[in-house]
C-alpha cells in the first residue's frame, strides 16, 4: 500500500506546512487548509492501514514499517482530540511535521517478505494486537504531554523573565497547557497500564512467563513508574507547574528509549 501511503504523506506534509505557517502568521485560512488536509490524510491513512491488514493477513502493527505508520496514525488521532477539546492549534505545528517524518520513514523502509509465518502466528490471539495498539496510543498521549510541557516551560520561563518572544503570544495559556498535560498523562497512564497487563497475559498464555527481564520490559516499567508519580504528584496539589512539566519531558525521553532504544539492545521484544 505504498502508493496510498504516498498520498497520505502528501496530505500530511500540506497540513504540516500550513499549520506551521498558521502558527507564524496567525491566519485562520491557513489553519483551515491544514485541518482539511489533515482530515484527508487521516481518511487515506485509515484506508491504507485497513488495506494492509486485508492484504497481508495480519494485524498491521508488527514490522517497523507498520509500527511507524500506526504510531503516526495514533498521533494524528490524539492531536485531533486535543484540537476538538481545547482548540490548542499550536500543537499541530509540532505533531504534523513529526507525523510526516514518520510516514516518510515508513515509506522508505524496505517492505518485509509477505505472508511471514511469525507475523501471522502473533495475530492468532487478540491479546497481542490489543497490547501493541494500546501501547502506541499511550505513547501518542505521552507525546502530547511532552509538547504541552514544553509549551508550559517556555511560557513560564518568559513570564518569570518578563521578556516575551514572538512565540509567546501564539501559545495557549498556562492553565490550558497544564490541563492538556494532566489529562493526557492520565489517559496515557491508563492505556499503558492496560497495555502492559494484556502483554503479560499474552506472554503467560504463550510460554507461562509474564516477565522476561528484557530491556523493553524494564524501561516500560520505569516509564510506568514515572508517569504514575507524575499523576500522584499532580493530584496531591491541583497544580504543580514547572516540576510536573519537567517530568513530562523526562517521561517522554524514557518513552523514546523504550520504543527505539530497547530494539537496539535486543531481547524478547525484538521481532521482524
Amino acid at each position: 500500500m505504498r502508493s496510498l501511503l504516498l498520498g497520505v504523506l502528501a496530505a500530511y506534509v500540506v497540513a504540516a506546512i500550513h499549520a506551521v505557517l498558521a502558527f507564524i502568521n496567525k491566519r485562520r485560512a491557513l489553519q483551515r487548509v491544514s485541518e482539511w488536509a489533515m482530515l484527508t490524510g487521516f481518511v487515506l491513512h485509515t484506508a491504507a492501514i485497513v488495506a494492509d491488514w486485508a492484504i497481508y493477513g495480519h494485524y498491521p502493527l508488527f514490522y517497523l514499517r507498520e509500527t511507524l505508520s500506526f504510531l503516526a496514525w495514533t498521533l494524528i488521532a490524539s492531536y485531533a482530540l486535543v484540537l476538538y477539546r481545547y482548540r490548542a492549534r499550536p500543537l499541530g505545528s509540532f505533531t504534523l511535521p513529526l507525523v510526516s517524518v514518520l510516514i516518510f520513514i515508513a515509506i522508505i523502509t524496505r517492505p518485509e517478505p509477505s505472508g511471514s509465518a511469525e507475523a501471522s502466528s502473533m495475530s492468532t490471539t487478540w491479546l497481542f494486537p490489543v497490547h501493541t495498539t494500546l501501547l502506541l496510543f499511550a505513547y501518542a498521549a505521552f507525546f502530547v504531554v511532552f509538547v504541552a510541557s514544553i509549551m508550559y516551560l517556555l511560557q513560564e520561563r518568559e513570564l518569570k523573565l518578563k521578556k516575551f518572544s514572538a512565540i509567546f503570544h501564539r501559545l495557549p495559556s498556562l492553565t490550558i497547557v497544564n490541563e492538556i498535560a494532566t489529562s493526557s498523562a492520565a489517559i496515557g497512564l491508563t492505556l499503558l497500564t492496560v497495555g502492559i497487563a494484556t502483554g503479560m497475559l499474552w506472554s503467560s498464555s504463550r510460554d507461562g512467563r509474564i516477565w522476561h527481564n528484557d530491556p523493553k520490559e524494564i524501561f516500560a516499567a520505569l516509564t510506568w513508574l514515572l508517569y504514575l508519580s507524575l499523576i500522584l504528584y499532580r493530584s496531591t496539589a491541583s497544580w504543580r507547574g514547572r516540576m510536573a512539566a519537567w517530568m513530562g519531558v523526562a517521561g517522554f525521553a524514557l518513552v523514546l528509549f523504550t520504543f527505539f532504544g530497547a530494539r537496539l539492545m535486543g531481547g524478547y521484544h525484538v521481532f521482524g
Partner: protein
C-alpha cells in the same frame, strides 16, 4: 476626477496648532456645507480628532490647485486664523497619495500609538456626519467604504493591535496568558487609586467576576467598591483575602512592602499551588521582589510592565510593515474599481465615435452636394454635429445618471452596446 487631502497630524503640527484647527461635530457639518459647492469641490469629508484634522475632498480633473487653495483658505475659518499660523504644518496629498493616507489613517498606521482601535470609530463618525450633511458622493462613498475594508483586513491579518501597549490592558493580557480565561477569576485591589481603578475596570470588562478592594483608610475603598460593584475588605485581613485572589493589583502609597514573601507563600499553600498574578504599580514597590521567585507566582512591577510595553510597541511596528503591503495592494484595487466607474472616457469616446460616423458620411456623400463655398461647407458640418449632439444628449445624460448611481452593470452595458473599450 481627483482626490485631494489636506491636513495636520500629531507629527506635522504641535498641539497648539491642532487644537485651533480642530472641528466640533457641529462645526464639521457647517464647514462641509460651506466648503462643498458642487462645482470645484464636489465632495467633502472632515476627520477631526485630538491627533489630527484632515479635510478630504473630491474635485474635477484640472481643479486640483484651486481645490487645495480653497481648503487651505477654508481652514482659516473666514480669516479668524492667520494662514501663516498653520500653513507650514499642513500636508497635501492628491489622488493615490491621498488614498494611501486615508487607508493608513483608518488602519491606525498613522496613529500616535500604532494599532490603537479608536481611530476607525472616529473616521466612521466623521463619515456619518458627512453623509448626513450630504457632502459625500460616489467617489468618497466608495473610498471611505474601501478604507473601512482595508482597516478590517489589517486588523485581522496582522498583529498590529495584538499586544497590549497600556498598563491597564497589560493586566488583562497577561492574566489571560496565565489563566485560560478571566471569567470566574477574582481580583484584589490593594489601594484605591486611580490606576488601580482603571485596571480593575479593564479586568471586569474582560470577565473577572469578583473584585475585592482593600485600602488602609476604609472610606475610599468603600467608594471604589461601590463604583465597581466590588466588595470592600479590611486592610488588616489582607493575608486572608490574598489566597482567594487570582489577580492582585497593588498601588498604595506605602513606603514598605505590603505583601511579603511569607504572606505570598502562605496564600499559595492555601490555593493548593494554583498560580497567582501580582501587579505592582506602586513606587516605591509594595510587593517584595522575593515573591516573584516563588513557583507559580508571577509578579510584574511597573518597570517590568513598561519594558514589556515597549517591546510590544516594537512588535506592532514590525506588524505595521506587513500592514503597509496590504495598503499598497488595496490602493491598486481601489484604482481599478474607480476606473471601472469613470464615465468621462466612455462619454468622450462615444461622442467621438458618433461624430466620426457623421463626418465619414459627409465625406462619402460630399460629391452629391456639388461645389460649396467654405461658409456653406462649415454650415453643413455644424448642422451635422449639432444633430448628432442633440440626438445623443439624452443618451449621455442617462449614462451620467447610471454613473452617479455607481451602477457598474449599466455602464458596462452602455460600453458593450457601442463597442467601446474601457
Amino acid at each position: 476626477m481627483s482626490i485631494v487631502l489636506v491636513g495636520v497630524n500629531h507629527k506635522s503640527a504641535p498641539i497648539e496648532v491642532r487644537e485651533r484647527l480642530a472641528f466640533t461635530e457641529d462645526a464639521c457639518a457647517a464647514g462641509l456645507r460651506s466648503l462643498v459647492d458642487g462645482q470645484i469641490v464636489r465632495e467633502g469629508l472632515i476627520v477631526s480628532t485630538c491627533n489630527r484634522v484632515e479635510v478630504l475632498t473630491e474635485t474635477a480633473d484640472g481643479q486640483l490647485s484651486d481645490t487645495t487653495e480653497r481648503v487651505i483658505e477654508f481652514l482659516s475659518r473666514s480669516d479668524v486664523l492667520p494662514r501663516s499660523f498653520y500653513e507650514a504644518h499642513l500636508y497635501t496629498h492628491t489622488d493615490d497619495q491621498a488614498v494611501r493616507h486615508l487607508f493608513r489613517v483608518t488602519s491606525s498606521l498613522d496613529s500616535m500609538v500604532i494599532g490603537e482601535p479608536q481611530v476607525l470609530g472616529q473616521v466612521r463618525r466623521a463619515y456619518s456626519i458627512a453623509l448626513e450633511t450630504g457632502t459625500t458622493g460616489r467617489v468618497l462613498n466608495r473610498l471611505v467604504h474601501h478604507a473601512f475594508r482595508v482597516a478590517k483586513r489589517v486588523r485581522t491579518e496582522t498583529g498590529i493591535g495584538a499586544n497590549a501597549v497600556s498598563i491597564s490592558y497589560m493586566a488583562v493580557e497577561l492574566g489571560k496568558k496565565i489563566f485560560k480565561t478571566l471569567e470566574g477569576q477574582t481580583a484584589l485591589l490593594i489601594g484605591a487609586g486611580e490606576m488601580a481603578e482603571h485596571s480593575a475596570r479593564h479586568l471586569v470588562n474582560a470577565g473577572v467576576s469578583r473584585v475585592l478592594v482593600a485600602n488602609r483608610t476604609e472610606e475610599p475603598a468603600a467608594r471604589l467598591a461601590n463604583e465597581l460593584g466590588a466588595e470592600a475588605v479590611r486592610f488588616d485581613q489582607l493575608s486572608d483575602y490574598l489566597a482567594e485572589a487570582d489577580i492582585i493589583i497593588c498601588s498604595t502609597a506605602a513606603d514598605h512592602y505590603v505583601i511579603t514573601e511569607p504572606m505570598a507563600r502562605e496564600a499559595l499553600n492555601k490555593r493548593r499551588n494554583r498560580p497567582s498574578f501580582f501587579i505592582d504599580i506602586s513606587v516605591p514597590r509594595n510587593i517584595d521582589p522575593a515573591v516573584g521567585k516563588i513557583r507559580n507566582v508571577f509578579v510584574f512591577d511597573i518597570d517590568d510592565l513598561e519594558s514589556v510595553i515597549s517591546s510590544n510597541i516594537r512588535e506592532r511596528e514590525r506588524e505595521a510593515e506587513r500592514a503597509e503591503l496590504i495598503v499598497n495592494s488595496e490602493i491598486m484595487q481601489f484604482q481599478q474599481a474607480l476606473r471601472a466607474l469613470d464615465i468621462g472616457p466612455t462619454i468622450g469616446a462615444l461622442r467621438q465615435k458618433l461624430q466620426d460616423m457623421a463626418r465619414l458620411e459627409l465625406t462619402n456623400q460630399r460629391k452629391r452636394l456639388g461645389p460649396l463655398t467654405p461658409e456653406q461647407e462649415r454650415a453643413v458640418e455644424a448642422l451635422l454635429m449639432s444633430t448628432v449632439n442633440k440626438i445623443s444628449h439624452p443618451l449621455l445624460s442617462h449614462m451620467r445618471r447610471s454613473y452617479d448611481a455607481s451602477d457598474a452593470e449599466t455602464i458596462q452595458a452602455w460600453r458593450d452596446i457601442f463597442g467601446l473599450e474601457e
